[in-house]
């Protein structure tokens, strides 16, 4: 008739779920080994290295000037930040004092790049929680920034624009007018994103109180950038250790306040980025207003051959604290280049904040950390 099932043969093990490297929402080629109990996630183990391109080894075989395009390819969503951070380090090594105009142009392009990068982060986070339209809207507006960069240097993604000792071209004709036009156009768009996504009830349900990153855990794991600021600190290198000419501008550091849930949840990490875009608009406007005249190639070195020594500098990129360490033996090739990747440290906290949540939440938490695999693997 019917058999009595032997209870001992029923396995109620945890299931290992392999997410990626080919998965729609791992933001590139990240692989996550998820140990699940039904829908609940017990442990997440990020496995990286699928986009490793030997950046640091390449640097040991290339002259200083030729490393700049490689830095662009690290964080391909914020190329300007990477080349700016690298150039700053080389300038520190060479001890160059840059003309004012170069610094202003660098601030303008960096902040435009920050807006572009945060647009991707905001849109892709919407995509991760299932809203498709915000992503196309943010890409539409990012396109305008890419148009500006195309006008500036001819490239739309990997610019090779910021060089050690200067920038490749001066601002082209009409660039300033078109940037003003963009800023006027862009500010109302932020309110539109807020109406469509930020204040959406379902979006708040999905992101508020999810994946809360306590401040002490964040600091212990070395999380930086908007992801840390969402946990309630205003640590920002632009204010705390002002490089370039950031000390001349008036802007605020948005901090997560837990408006919809608790401080440091996914919603906060998302909203800090939205607010940072507004601040970047303010900075660009101030920089354009007070742009000094001058020659951008004035101190551009013909050949870079620094003295023996080592140097480390920090830079606030769209993802956090980028650090470049360069050691020179007095040749035109660096002996060692090491890059501190902010997204790498931000990703390391994933397991800490996502165990106990559901699979859908892992996607949301990962999206809110805003990683770029090119920078993690290098």
């Amino acid at each position: 008739m019917f058999k009595v099932i032997d209870k001992s043969i029923i396995n109620t093990d945890e299931m290992v779920l392999n997410m990626g490297p080919q998965h729609p929402s791992t933001h590139g080629v990240l692989r996550l080994k998820i140990i699940t109990d039904g829908e609940i996630v017990n442990k997440v183990e990020p496995i990286i290295g699928y986009l490793h391109r030997c950046f640091e080894k390449h640097c040991e075989n290339l002259p200083y000037e030729q490393i700049v395009p490689f830095t662009d390819r690290c964080d391909y969503l914020a190329s300007m930040h990477m080349s700016h951070a690298y150039s700053m380090t080389v300038e520190k090594l060479l001890d160059i004092k840059l003309p004012e105009r170069v610094e202003y142009i660098r601030v303008i392009v960096s902040e435009l790049q920050r807006i572009a990068s945060h647009l991707i982060a905001v849109g892709a986070f919407g995509l991760d929680v299932g809203a498709i339209t915000p992503f196309t809207w943010t890409l539409r507006d990012r396109e305008r920034i890419l148009d500006l960069f195309e006008l500036l240097c001819g490239a739309r993604l990997l610019y090779n624009y910021v060089w050690p000792g200067g920038v490749s071209h001066d601002l082209p004709v009409k660039f300033i007018e078109r940037t003003y036009e963009f800023l006027d156009y862009f500010l109302p768009q932020i309110d539109e994103y807020n109406q469509l996504l930020t204040t959406n009830k379902i979006f708040i349900e999905r992101s508020a109180d999810v994946g809360v990153l306590p401040l002490d855990v964040g600091i212990n794991f070395g999380v930086t950038g908007p992801s840390l600021r969402a946990s309630g600190t205003n640590f920002d290198l632009r204010k705390d250790e002002p490089y370039s000419v950031y000390d001349k501008f008036d802007f605020n550091i948005p901090v997560g306040e837990g408006l919809m849930g608790s401080v440091g949840d996914c919603w906060d990490r998302y909203y800090v980025r939205v607010l940072e875009m507004k601040e970047s608009v303010k900075i660009v406007r101030q920089a354009l207003d007070s742009l000094p005249k001058g020659d951008v190639h004035e101190v551009l070195p013909k050949k870079i051959r620094p003295n023996k020594g080592e140097v480390y500098s920090r830079y606030e990129s769209a993802r956090g604290d980028v650090g470049f360490y360069i050691r020179s033996d007095g040749k035109n090739i660096p002996t060692r280049v090491k890059m501190r990747s902010p997204a790498y440290c931000n990703l390391s906290v994933l397991n800490e904040i996502s165990s106990g949540w559901m699979i859908s939440d892992i996607i949301a938490i990962l999206g809110s950390l805003d990683i770029v695999l090119g920078e993690i693997d290098r």
Partner: protein
């Protein structure tokens, strides 16, 4: 003219053949017509959805593929040829099956799903009398048949031998079974009021009295509970957790390709049409003209009423298409709910509300 089967039987009765043969003809003929209708429906609906999505996302949608007048650099008809391009692409695609998959189950699961969708159409009218068979238990039949698909979904998810598919299938099963309860309860409310399960009787009641959505506050609430629940039952955003592309790749249809996948697609859009038509029939007066509420004594009623068989098709389709548009609007606006939030909405919000609704409408009926 009561139903299509009756009409065919009547008009063929002069031929002197066996009654069983006659029945076979009367069954196969509407079936073929329905299948063709569904194929056309999915083609048009996909094009419509792409255009709606493009409209909401500030882009143009399909614009390149034309059918006529394409030469000379002139684009024609806003890329309407995309419909045929998509169809040909899907039907000629290679059918891939994973090596460790359960071949038989994987083969039959698309057909179980599409059979459920097509069988539902037997009880779905397109106008007055334009229904394959007008049973006296029509609404019950529609509810029963629309839940056949979930068996196919579970089989599809299990047979693919893929963890994402399994997750999708389990989520889908839980979701469809849960949301059937509020759907059944809200439809029961209408049945209580009009006293019949027959589709034509329900519309007749509305033509004699008023549309059910305006019947009482409870029926008004019931319409929204019904509509949101059917959005969940057809796996559309914000309830598309079974196929959630950012989480589960493509949910239970991850491993399906080519023709089998296009059958899934066909049944998805067929289900959308079914639930929209049922919503229009039950709550929005079916094939009745919306101008019936206007009373102008100085103009003859036939001039503005626009009622009748052919206008009936128009009005019913118009109402259904508006509801389908609203579903697409949802999809391109909202994020997705999480699986526990979805269950919360069903079990803790919709079911208590529809039970209370059911109780209150009986009191309403006793008083008025």
């Amino acid at each position: 003219m009561i139903s299509i089967v009756d009409t065919i039987l009547d008009s063929l009765s002069f031929i002197n053949i066996d009654i069983n043969m006659l029945l076979l003809v009367a069954i196969i003929l509407p079936g073929l017509v329905l299948f063709v209708l569904m194929a056309i429906n999915v083609m048009l609906a996909v094009y419509f959805e792409r255009k709606v999505a493009a409209f909401m996302q500030d882009r143009l949608g399909p614009m390149e593929v034309g059918i006529f007048g394409y030469k000379g650099g002139k684009k024609f008809w806003g890329g309407i040829g995309q419909i045929f391009a998509d169809t040909v692409k899907l039907l000629t695609k290679e059918d891939i099956m994973p090596a460790k998959a359960d071949k038989l189950l994987m083969l039959i699961s698309p057909f179980i799903i599409v059979t459920g969708a097509l069988l539902t159409f037997i009880g779905i009218p397109f106008s007055k009398g334009l229904i394959v068979s007008d049973f006296n238990i029509g609404i019950l039949y529609i509810i029963a048949m629309s839940s056949v698909g979930v068996i196919g979904v579970i089989l599809a998810g299990w047979s693919s031998n893929n963890k994402w598919s399994l997750y999708g299938a389990m989520r889908s099963a839980a979701q469809i079974i849960s949301y059937e309860i509020p759907i059944g309860l809200t439809l029961l409310l209408i049945v209580i009021v009009c006293g019949s399960l027959q589709v034509s009787e329900i519309v007749l009641w509305q033509s004699e009295n008023r549309w059910f959505i305006f019947h009482s506050p409870f029926a008004f609430i019931a319409f929204f509970i019904y509509f949101i629940s059917v959005v969940a039952e057809t796996n559309r955003t914000p309830f598309d957790i079974p196929e959630a592309e950012s989480e589960l790749v493509a949910g239970w249809m991850t491993e399906f390709s080519g023709f089998k996948w296009s059958i899934f697609f066909m049944s998805e859009y067929a289900n959308m049409l079914i639930v929209s038509i049922v919503a229009s029939i039950v709550f929005l007066g079916g094939w009745l003209s919306p101008f019936k509420i206007i009373h102008l004594s100085f103009i003859p009623e036939t001039w503005y009423l626009l009622d009748g068989f052919y206008w009936g098709i128009f009005w019913l389709m118009l109402k259904a298409i508006i509801l389908i548009f609203v579903m697409m609007w949802f999809r391109w606006t909202f994020p997705r709910l999480r699986v526990d939030q979805l269950m919360y909405v069903c079990w803790k919000v919709f079911i208590p509300f529809s039970l209370a609704n059911l109780f209150l409408i009986t009191i309403w009926e006793l008083i008025f």
